[in-house]
């Protein structure tokens, strides 16, 4: 019986088929999903902020793109996943509130997306599917039996990554 596992803000969860990893209500945060289709192990990190070096102290590495992504990949490898087989997809990074005087390059969602891309590149991983930016919140459902990722928003049709 597949069970749904919630991935809350700043959490990193790795599980295997037939479970489903779920994160509900991503705004400016980003869900990074990594999947090894051979052993059907997948993981998700719910990243809140781009850069751990900007923080006063790092008590939880899951919060930041530059620390959470290496941790996620390492956890996957501990479960037997191989880097060359990993499929990486990501969603989130929306600009929920439009303030007067801000532009699309400075909001936290955009910066999260850029930082996630950078952290993945540093590990030699390429993103094969993404749903990033815009003004709508997203929910991610990652089916570990198939690796299929469904992204739901309030007002537009479901996206399959």
């Amino acid at each position: 019986m597949p069970k749904s596992i919630r991935v809350g803000m700043s959490e990193i969860v790795v599980a295997e088929a037939p479970d489903i990893l779920v994160t509900i209500g991503l705004g400016s945060c980003i869900g990074v999903c990594v999947y090894d289709p051979v052993i059907k192990v997948g993981g998700m990190a719910h990243i809140m902020l781009p850069d751990s070096t900007a923080a006063k102290e790092v008590t939880n590495r899951g919060k930041f793109a530059d620390t959470a992504i290496p941790d996620l990949v390492e956890l996957m490898q501990k479960k037997g996943a191989i880097k060359q087989r990993m499929l990486v997809k990501k969603a989130g990074g929306a600009q929920m509130f439009a303030y007067p005087g801000t532009n699309s390059q400075t909001h936290i969602g955009y910066r999260n997306a850029v930082a996630a891309e950078k952290a993945l590149e540093a590990l030699g991983l390429k993103v094969s599917g993404k749903s990033i930016g815009g003004h709508s919140g997203r929910s991610i459902y990652m089916d570990l039996a198939t690796g299929v990722i469904r992204v739901k928003t309030l007002n537009s049709p479901e996206i399959i990554l």
């Binding site: 803000m9 209500g25 991503l26 400016s28 809140m48 902020l49 008590t59 919060k63 929306a94 509130f97």
Partner: protein, 215 residues
């Protein structure tokens, strides 16, 4: 960062929420021209990964009006209410029925922001008056989306300073119209100490949290 508050400190914070929300409720009641009741404020101190769940039903669509408060105790204020009432509430400020359409357009959003502004203004004024802290609210920002995503975005930047979020939550309920909204005051990390100090209960500490207080 304070994680444990003594009963006395909790009471003091609740009272601040009470006074602020009381003023906001009065204003809302005048706008709606009917009775608005409010709950006793709840002071939630939650780890960030749980804080999004305070309202429940993460995927339900809600309208959120969000302001930052600058000054002595930087904070965030969020007024959340069900989206199916949004047009009705917007209509309160748009007298001309010809102009009021059935979608949330620019005019409706602007009206809702203004209502958020008025309610928040009342809350911040009462808060500031009671604590004698200097507070300046920003212009309001508006979002209509799943409630989880709204809270997610607002709480995200608290992560830079700590792992906990403090949410002072008061529900404002207009029974006849079933507008059940949440009014949140979310002090930035560090601001809670300033608020406790202003209330004269900063040194009211429990023996087990002795390391947290400065005598």
């Amino acid at each position: 960062m304070i994680k444990n508050l003594t009963p006395m400190q909790l009471d003091a914070i609740r009272e601040v929420g009470n006074i602020g929300a009381g003023h906001a409720a009065t204003v809302l009641s005048q706008l709606l021209k009917q009775r608005v009741s409010m709950t006793v404020p709840q002071v939630n101190i939650l780890p960030l990964n749980e804080a999004c769940n305070v309202v429940g039903g993460l995927e339900q669509p809600m309208v959120g009006i969000f302001l930052r408060v600058f000054g002595d105790a930087p904070s965030k204020i969020l007024y959340l209410f069900p989206e199916d009432k949004a047009l009705f509430v917007a209509g309160l400020l748009i007298d001309d029925p010809e102009k009021c359409r059935n979608i949330l357009g620019e005019l409706e959003v602007s009206a809702l922001k203004e209502i958020g502004n008025i309610l928040t203004g009342a809350y911040v004024y009462a808060f500031s008056d009671f604590t004698k802290l200097h507070m300046i609210p920003s212009v309001p920002a508006f979002a209509f989306d799943m409630v989880g995503a709204i809270l997610n975005t607002i709480l995200a930047d608290l992560g830079e300073m700590g792992d906990y979020a403090v949410l002072i939550d008061t529900r404002l309920i207009a029974c006849d119209l079933s507008i059940d909204g949440h009014f949140f005051l979310i002090p930035d990390p560090g601001s809670l100490t300033t608020i406790l100090e202003a209330l004269g209960v900063k040194n009211e500490c429990q023996s087990q949290s002795g390391s947290e207080c400065q005598k």
